[in-house]
């Protein structure tokens, strides 16, 4: 019996490994080495921007490092190289390696600025969610819908993360990236989020949406995202917020629109029933 369980786990691991090697299951595979392409148009653009700068840096790096290595290999005293002390400065060279980097930087700044404008301009949003950070959980409020709830670390992860526990984190599914109640949003909907904090600074980071925004007490920040594919997406608090900073994950469950409407109606019903009970 035990062996069967073990075998199943092994097969599962193998399957995950193969899919990730083949580049399938985009989000999961990209999670490992590089930034995720993510699940929104914006996150894909941010990923492209990231790869663009990365390759520009690699190209410049190859040239500069090649020049350094060439000097190290060729101009060795041990190989009889004699210093040409007449080479002390060159205004032409200084001019060239000032101007060319400026041009490259401008070429990088243009797409960066375009993407930034797209991220920062919040318009035509269809619904609003208010996110509030607490030590150490998140509160999600569906503005105008009278639905709100807290989202904290899932109890399995919470048990496994205690000091000197016997639970192996590898045995816990989505260790530290699972919550009791995820934020539920509809796919294909432009969602505006407002974010603030009730105590200290937090930051709501969802790598797959390319969203990271600070939760600041006394301030309300805003932004937006629109997720194309239904699924479960995982992130974490990114701003140090005290002892359990590492233990307040961000989990978003993206449902097809119709399913979301059903979910919201159920939630509202629950709230209404709760309110009714309270009134009695």
């Amino acid at each position: 019996m035990g062996r069967t369980v073990g075998n199943n786990r092994f097969t599962k691991c193998l399957a995950v490994l193969i899919t990730s090697l083949l580049g399938g299951g985009a989000a999961q595979a990209a999670w490992e080495l590089n930034m995720p392409v993510g699940a929104t148009d914006v996150s894909a653009k941010v990923f492209d921007l990231h790869m663009l700068i990365l390759w520009v840096c690699v190209a410049i790096g190859v040239l500069v490092f090649a020049a350094m290595i060439y000097c190290i290999v060729v101009f060795r005293k041990s190989k009889g190289a004699v210093a040409d002390t007449s080479i002390a400065h060159s205004n032409t060279a200084e001019f060239i390696w000032t101007v060319i980097p400026v041009l490259i930087l401008i070429a990088m700044a243009v797409p960066a600025a375009q993407t930034l404008v797209e991220i920062e301009v919040v318009r035509d949003t269809e619904m609003t969610i208010k996110i509030t950070g607490y030590q150490w959980k998140w509160e999600y409020e569906y503005v105008g819908e009278d639905v709100s709830f807290y989202s904290s670390l899932a109890s399995e992860s919470n048990a496994a993360r205690q000091l000197n526990t016997d639970i192996d984190p590898f045995e816990v599914e989505n260790y530290l990236l699972d919550v009791d109640k995820p934020l539920v949003v509809p796919a294909g909907t432009r969602i505006r989020y407002l974010i603030t904090s009730n105590d200290v600074l937090h930051a709501w980071w969802m790598p797959d949406f390319a969203v990271k925004k600070d939760a600041i007490p006394g301030f309300i920040n805003e932004g937006w995202f629109e997720v194309n594919e239904p699924g479960i997406y995982r992130g974490q608090c990114a701003e140090l917020c005290g002892k359990d900073h590492g233990f307040m994950p961000v989990v978003v469950e993206v449902l097809p629109k119709e399913e979301f409407d059903v979910w919201l109606a159920e939630k509202k019903g629950g709230v209404a029933r709760a309110a009714a009970t309270a009134n009695q």
Binding site: C57, A81, H89, A112, W205, G242, K243, H245
Partner: protein
């Protein structure tokens, strides 16, 4: 006339006092330089031990050794100790030893201030470390001390703030001394543009220090009054603004980055020409590039806080100004490379560390450029990518610069050559382990691991394990450095006055070890 006579009576060479009083009462720039350097070396191991606690806990997922609160105290204290207790004092030590000898001055301009600025340090450092034993533990809010979290610190808060004040006072006095020395005590003929690059970078660094250390002092004082005197500078409940502290902190913090790296630039600019046996390429443009970096460092601070929700125009401004820093920094890298071009290179330990600096600092520069791109920064910010970035510029950047300088000038300080074989072993182990330690952190950050967390999701396990192995390798390798230094102080092959056949500059005209007093009669610089 009588004044001259009195002066002449003092002219007989007098050595230092004997015993411990020599070090406590000394006003000699070489003694004080030595004190700074050994203090920094000791703090390297204190701060390093803390980083090994951090890396040990992060070796595998789950909590094995420390609780999360102590983990946060370690990340906070590691940074405070390394920045204020290790790397800054190390470079002030270099300045004390080398600036007077490089400009042909007999000592620092303000010797008693010099003694005081050093002797504040051990007390400030001890006070800072003592907070770990206080009720509620040491500060655990990160070295950035962001409110409101920092206001939750226990008894340690006022002590940590006072320690930061003291460290700042020490830095400001050191900076004043360096500026006054450079401006007033250069030998005849040593014009500003003839000054060695190390002196130039320190002159600029000293101005940065005077400009921004008081800003930090102001910021932490406001924290103090928020915590104890009922003000609400940073408390939203009282009408304050938590983000204001971040602006104040980073207005100090970004120039601070260059306060740390510019002296290393200076050291590298001394070493590469020496072992290329060629003058520094584009000496003047190197000076202008340093000055431009220093100027730009004042107008980029908010790139540390792109996620706080700034207006679009603000984000664009700080992105563009930050990208601009790549230009003068590039000029420096290109000039160092051109210095080696058609040179006659040899690869003694200082040169090896300088070359590692050249390669690895450039990698840190590239990731810095990537971080400047705001939309991408939304992903990088507060992740391990940032940790990898700033450790690349601080460890194989600033620290390798300091180690390179130590090997470079150790024969001048001690009169003995260090053991070259051991030096090379130290270099290769350091250079390999530093990459094992920090390179995987780029991947961790991109894959979504936040910084300052004591435990992590299982997909981050492999790279964290590799990073921890690198950390222990790097940490224990530095014990070899201590052995090499002690061995070199005690004895070894006699060093000549010039030490390195390609070395040029006033410091190489005096005997090795440098006599207790040098240049009592100013040398003539042509």
């Amino acid at each position: 006339m009588s004044a001259t006579t009195t002066h002449d009576e003092h002219h007989d060479d007098h050595g230092p006092d004997k015993g411990i009083m020599r070090w406590i009462t000394t006003t000699n720039h070489k003694d004080i330089g030595t004190l700074y350097l050994f203090f920094a070396l000791a703090m390297l191991f204190v701060g390093g031990a803390m980083s090994l606690v951090i890396r040990a806990e992060l070796f595998q997922p789950g909590l094995q050794f420390v609780n999360p609160d102590f983990f946060n105290q370690m990340t906070t204290m590691h940074a405070l100790i390394m920045v204020f207790g290790m790397i800054m004092p190390a470079f002030v030590g270099f300045a004390n030893w080398m600036v007077p000898m490089m400009i042909g001055a007999p000592d620092m301009a303000l010797p008693r201030l010099n003694n005081w600025s050093f002797w504040i340090l051990p007390f400030a450092g001890t006070m800072l470390l003592s907070t770990l034993f206080m009720d509620g533990g040491g500060p655990a809010s990160g070295w950035t001390l962001y409110p409101p979290l920092v206001l939750q610190t226990g008894d340690a808060l006022p002590f940590a703030i006072f320690a930061v004040h003291l460290l700042g006072v020490s830095s400001i006095m050191g900076a004043i001394n360096i500026i006054v020395t450079i401006m007033n005590m250069r030998a005849p003929g040593m014009t500003l543009m003839k000054m060695p690059l190390f002196v130039w970078t320190w002159l600029i660094t000293a101005y940065l220090l005077i400009a921004v250390m008081p800003v930090l002092a102001g910021g932490v004082t406001m924290l103090l009054t928020d915590a104890f005197f009922g003000t609400s500078f940073f408390q939203a409940a009282g009408g304050g603004d938590p983000v204001l502290f971040q602006h104040i902190f980073w207005f100090f913090g970004h120039p601070e980055v260059y306060i740390i790296i510019l002296p290393a630039f200076g050291i590298i600019s001394q070493i590469i020409p020496t072992f290329s046996r060629k003058p520094l390429f584009g000496n003047d443009s190197m000076i202008y590039a340093t000055a431009s970096i220093a100027f730009l460092s004042f107008i980029v601070w908010a790139h540390h806080m792109f996620t706080v929700g700034m207006p679009l125009a603000g984000q664009l401004f700080f992105m563009l100004s930050t990208m601009l820093i790549a230009v003068p920094t590039g000029v420096k890298v290109f000039n160092w490379t051109s210095t080696m071009w058609k040179g006659s290179l040899s690869f003694e330990t200082p040169m090896l560390f300088a070359l590692a600096f050249l390669f690895l600092f450039t990698i840190g520069g590239f990731s810095g450029l990537m971080l400047a791109i705001v939309p991408a920064d939304f992903q990088y910010h507060d992740s391990y990518f940032v940790v990898a970035h700033f450790h690349y510029v601080l460890v194989p950047g600033a620290l390798f610069g300091a180690i390179a300088g130590a090997y470079f000038w150790m024969p001048k300080w001690t009169g003995h050559m260090y053991n070259e074989t051991l030096g090379k072993v130290h270099f290769w182990l350091s250079a390999i382990f530093v990459n094992v330690l920090f390179f995987p952190q780029h991947f961790l950050g991109l894959a979504g691991m936040p910084r300052r967390i004591p435990d992590y999701a299982t997909q981050f396990a492999d790279f964290n394990a590799i990073s921890t192995i690198g950390a222990f390798g790097f940490g224990f390798t530095q014990l070899l450095f201590v052995y090499i230094v002690i061995k070199c102080v005690r004895g070894g092959e006699k060093a000549t006055a010039q030490v390195w056949d390609g070395a040029e500059g006033l410091e190489w005209t005096v005997p090795s070890p440098a006599p207790y007093h040098t240049f009592e009669d100013a040398p003539e610089v042509r």
